[in-house]
Amino acid sequence: MLTHIAFWVLAVAAVLAGAAVFWVNSMARASYALAVSFIAVGVQVLLLQQNYIGVVTILMMVMEMAVMAVYMVMFMGMNPALMPMSMVHDKRHARAVAIGVFVALAAGALLVPWPARRGAPADDVTAALGEELMGPKMLVMAAVGVVMAVTIVAGVVLAAHRSRYDRFGDDLRRRPANDPQPGGVGR
């Protein structure tokens, strides 16, 4: 019973916070509304007995939203004075599409005859996940690892505006490097 109440409270919180992202006037509020939505979903995942995934969702999303808020402020340059911002295009069609998608998905959720549950969860779900990742699903883990590494490199390449020639000079011989921002390790 308690689980059901918690689930519905969290569900309402998640959806309302999600809607608030596009409704509030402040960038900080929008970012952290999304964080609240993620936390609510993370706790719901906890209710669905996937402790590791749920906690990791909360962990990652709070961090991401802290960074997100910084980017919002950086790229949308407004003060926290709750300036009204309406930066939308084609609102009507977007709303129509969103409602249409929701109706379709909801109809699917309610009308499809879902099969009965197959199998039972492992005693230790987290350990089972770990063994799955390090055993039969090793390929997934390997692929995700490589993709993450590539993402880091690609992200830095895209975002950095200075190449090594800016740092070390045209012949790459300048030492120490010419950095606008000194580093902490002897530079």
Binding site: A11, V15, F38, V41, L48, G119, K137
Partner: protein
């Protein structure tokens, strides 16, 4: 808390995110919409896992969704930074060169 209700909530999150991703003009806000859609996806995958087939491989799918989300964020931020530096643009409409 049954599978249809979990999916209903997930669908609501997905649709709200879709609305945001379609209607927002600022790149970072579009990313927020995408994140919200993935948020719904996480919930739906967790629901499917718990109510249909609670074996470990389903959890792997959730992990992949979360990984996809981080990649989306990282690349989104990088592209937004690049776009802003080169064009002083923060709107998707200002970067529509490839639209047909």
């Amino acid at each position: 808390m049954t599978l249809p209700t979990v999916l209903l909530v997930a669908a609501a999150l997905f649709s709200v995110g879709l609305y945001g991703a379609l209607s927002q003009q600022v790149v970072v806000m579009v990313m927020m919409g995408l994140e919200l859609m993935l948020n719904g996806l996480i919930l739906a995958a967790a629901g499917f896992w718990w109510f249909l087939a609670p074996d470990p491989s389903g959890q792997v799918l959730l992990l992949v969704i979360i990984a996809a989300m981080t990649v989306e964020m990282a690349m989104g931020f990088a592209v937004a930074t690049l776009l802003h530096r080169i064009r002083r643009a923060d709107m998707t409409d200002m970067a529509a060169d490839l639209s047909g």
